[in-house]
């Protein structure tokens, strides 16, 4: 190959490689975008079926139940207006508590049960994920959250 041909091939290789890389990255980006919804939004315009999304709110007091000895736990996530039933089989984070703000990632079943793959609670008991704080419908609670953030 002449140097000129070599250069052309190199440019072709680089352009092709960059194109492939960009396609892969974009595809991954598309696939991993996850929406956040509050229980009210879920009921208004549900993201049903295959797509995972994140659901956030407070763990409704008194809603956490499990059969003794069973790993699966059920609780309701509420924004103080609506509530969604969630099922999760796994270790709950240390900061998971009734009345605490949490975000769960998973899918909504046709029966209205949200099957969570992951439960996130934040690491400071005074800290509330901003999405959750905003989605709550009861102003005094939001105030309390903001005041607690000091």
């Amino acid at each position: 190959m002449t140097p000129r041909q070599k250069r052309i091939w190199m440019v072709v290789g680089i352009v092709g490689g960059v194109g492939l890389a960009a396609t892969l990255a974009l595809q991954a980006f598309q696939d991993n975008l996850m929406y956040f919804q509050s229980p009210t939004q879920v009921l208004e315009q549900p993201i049903a079926g295959e797509r995972s999304f994140r659901l956030g709110g407070l763990v409704e007091p008194g809603s956490v139940t499990r059969e003794p000895g069973n790993l699966e736990v059920r609780f309701r996530i509420t924004d103080n207006v609506e509530a969604i039933e969630v099922s999760y089989a796994g270790l709950l984070p240390d900061l998971f508590r009734e009345g605490q703000g949490v975000i769960v990632r998973g899918k909504l079943g046709a029966d209205g049960l949200f099957v969570a793959e992951e439960v996130l609670a934040k690491h400071d008991e005074n800290y509330m994920p901003p999405e959750v704080a905003e989605s709550l419908r009861m102003p005094p609670l939001i105030k309390q959250v903001e005041a607690g953030g000091a």
Partner: protein, 644 residues
């Protein structure tokens, strides 16, 4: 009284920082030696004052002064002395004060160690650093004063977040800050070069050791954070693509690119304006990281309390620094000319690819980190970008980077020549692939193409990094430290790749419900749950679960995991039980009482995970070795003899 002294020292430090930038920049512009000397004196004074200020804060912690709001918020009377000292940077205000102190320390180090630089250049560097310092101290004084008093004093403090009561986390922030703030030094060098319109590339040689030290601190800081998250958060992961982790990782990628491009600029005088731009970008990203962490715009495990005014201040500061530096760049950089060219497979070309790929990785991570913020700001819904995106976005540029690295470190400057390394490299490839197959067959239960490729590349890379020292084995003593540093760091990259491949391909994580006496088996390791008991610690009470681990009937270890409740209240905390060996970690975390005599728990098998951190530490160690290279010091001694 002591806290007021600290506050007062901070105010004086601000004045001296102003003096440092004024005398530094104007003195150099007008060529007044006395002014330039005054800038150096300001640096020294500022350093002592900030040290005094920080000592006053630590003193308030040691003496339980709960009349200081920050002390009352982040410590209490049961906290052991070591963590009371560490608590000084366990919250927002104190960590910023530490930041300012570290910045002053870097400036002082420049005054002390960089005597070979011409006085005007050095004083411009100090002037720029002074401006950054002014910004930070103003930020401290106006929005986050650690010395604010509580009226009346709190009878008891609220405690340091129990998660932070840990050795690795006590040293993680200072190390990380050393790196973050250290990137201000190459930034200042770049700005000074642009201000002066300097055509020589000697600044690249002066900047290299500083950049290396900042880079290695950043490396160690990130590694410590990852290690801590692994054992303390109780999840057993080592990297979460959490926005704040990304905020530290992006500057690291840029700094890595900068370390390499500085080499080209120093040795060959090429990539001049690119190197300058990288230096500016690396520090800009580290400021952006601060903004993301401190302003509370991000949901993250690291987010401290949020306060909009802080966010606004940092945003303004960010715009001023980045905007200012980029304007300067746009104005002055076109005047820089690059001499000569290079062949398509010369060392320059390889380093160019290295830079392009590292910057691409940083860019892809930046997109994923900021995209949700933009969407939210534009009212287009709340979204997040899942960790799998970052995994792929990182892998896409890293695979070609690793492959190019195998050859790149042997390439000659300017010409396309691999020399005597070519044959050993090609011979190493089948060996590495064979070893990868052997590793998989010997260690794991199934074959995975990704693991095969990952192990193969990792082993090839490790082998490649050893080729050069092997070929020069008869003159090891005469090889420069920089050579050994490069070898070690690249070997570390290989080891890191090996670890990541192993743990990502063959880790097993299982959440289970077990009663005492029951067991579960992971990769041949049988974990028997032996039940729980109560344990009393210095400032906590805990339930401790005990597990006997056996393999083919032979005892391996007994692991314990605790669920702790700290006396200061708050939520329970999990302490994981971990058994370490060169081949794998075994990891147990106790969950909660599920009733009916059963407990929930997470059992994990983590193959090769130690090599992830070991590899990263070798990279840092390589950086340290390279910093010790004689030619940086020889330069110093020669010019010390000359009149300044």
């Amino acid at each position: 009284m002591i806290p007021e002294l600290g506050h007062f020292a901070l105010v004086l430090a601000l004045l001296l920082a102003l003096g440092q930038s004024w005398f530094g920049l104007l003195g150099a512009a007008r060529g007044r030696v006395a002014w330039m000397r005054a800038a150096e004196t300001s640096v020294a004074g500022q350093w002592w004052l900030l040290l005094l200020s920080f000592a006053a804060l630590v003193w308030s912690f040691v003496r339980f002064d709960f009349s200081v709001a920050y002390v009352a918020n982040t410590s209490n009377s049961l906290l052991p002395l070591f963590y009371r000292i560490a608590a000084a940077w366990g919250g927002h205000e104190g960590s910023l004060l530490l930041w300012a102190l570290i910045l002053a320390s870097w400036s002082a180090a420049i005054v002390f160690f960089s005597r070979q630089m011409p006085l005007p250049f050095r004083s411009r560097v100090l002037g720029i650093l002074g401006l950054v310092s002014v910004g930070f101290i103003l930020f401290l004084l106006s929005t986050s004063n650690p010395f604010d008093r509580l009226m009346p004093a709190a009878p008891e403090g609220r405690d340091l977040n129990p998660l932070l009561q840990d050795f690795a986390l006590a040293v993680h922030p200072p190390t990380l800050y050393l790196g973050y703030v250290g990137l201000a030094v190459p930034f200042a060098f770049a700005c000074a070069t642009l201000l002066e319109g300097r055509q020589e590339v000697d600044w690249a040689r002066w900047a290299r050791p500083w950049t290396l030290v900042a880079w290695l601190c950043l490396t160690v800081g990130i590694t410590l954070g990852s290690w801590w998250a692994y054992y303390e958060l109780g999840w057993g992961g080592y990297w979460f693509w959490d926005p704040v982790e990304n905020a530290s990782f992006m500057p690291w990628l840029m700094a890595t690119a900068l370390v390499h491009s500085l080499a080209v600029t120093e040795k060959r005088g090429l990539f001049r304006s690119w190197t300058l731009l990288l230096a500016v970008s690396a520090f800009s990203l580290s400021l952006l990281g601060t903004f993301l962490v401190r302003s509370g715009v991000l949901v993250s495990v690291h987010a401290f309390a949020t306060d909009p005014s802080r966010g606004l201040f940092i945003l303004g500061f960010l715009v001023a620094v980045i905007g200012g530096a980029l304007t300067l760049y746009a104005w002055r950089a076109p005047a820089l000319q690059a001499p000569g060219g290079f062949a398509p497979t010369s060392r320059e070309a390889f380093l160019l690819f290295n830079n392009a790929l590292l910057v691409a990785a940083a860019g892809l991570i930046l997109v994923g980190t900021l995209y949700p913020l933009f969407m939210d700001a534009l009212g287009l819904g709340k979204i997040s970008v899942g960790p799998p995106y970052f995994g792929i976005a990182f892998l896409v540029p890293m695979v070609p980077l690793l492959l190019l690295m195998v050859f790149g470190m042997h390439a000659a400057w300017k010409y396309s020549r691999l020399g005597t390394a070519k044959r050993p490299l090609l011979m190493l490839l089948p060996l590495a692939l064979l070893a990868a197959v052997g590793l998989i067959l010997a260690g794991y239960d199934h074959f995975s193409l990704a693991a095969f490729a990952g192990f193969g590349v990792a082993l090839w890379l490790m082998g490649s990094s050893l080729v050069a020292p092997w070929q020069r084995r008869d003159r090891w003593r005469s090889l420069p430290a920089g050579f050994w540093g490069m070898t070690l760091a690249h070997f570390g990259v290989g080891l890191f790749t090996l670890g990541v491949t192993g743990v990502e391909s063959y880790r097993i994580e299982r959440d289970l419900s077990l009663a005492p006496g029951e067991s579960a088996t992971l990769m041949g390791y049988a974990f028997r749950f032996d039940g729980t008991r109560e344990v009393q610690g210095p400032n906590y009470a805990a339930v401790e679960g005990s597990f006997t681990v056996t393999r083919e009937g032979q005892p391996v270890t007994v692991l314990t995991s605790q669920k702790r409740l700290y006396a200061s209240g708050g939520n329970p905390m999990t302490e994981a039980g971990i058994h370490v060996s060169p081949r794998r970690d075994l990891f147990v975390a106790l969950g909660e009482d599920l009733g009916a005599g059963k407990w929930s728990m997470r059992l994990q098998y983590k193959p090769l995970i130690r090599y992830v951190w070991l590899g990263a530490l070798l990279m840092a160690l390589g950086g340290l070795l390279a910093t010790a290279d004689r030619r940086y010091r020889v330069q110093l001694r020669q010019e010390e003899g000359q009149p300044a």
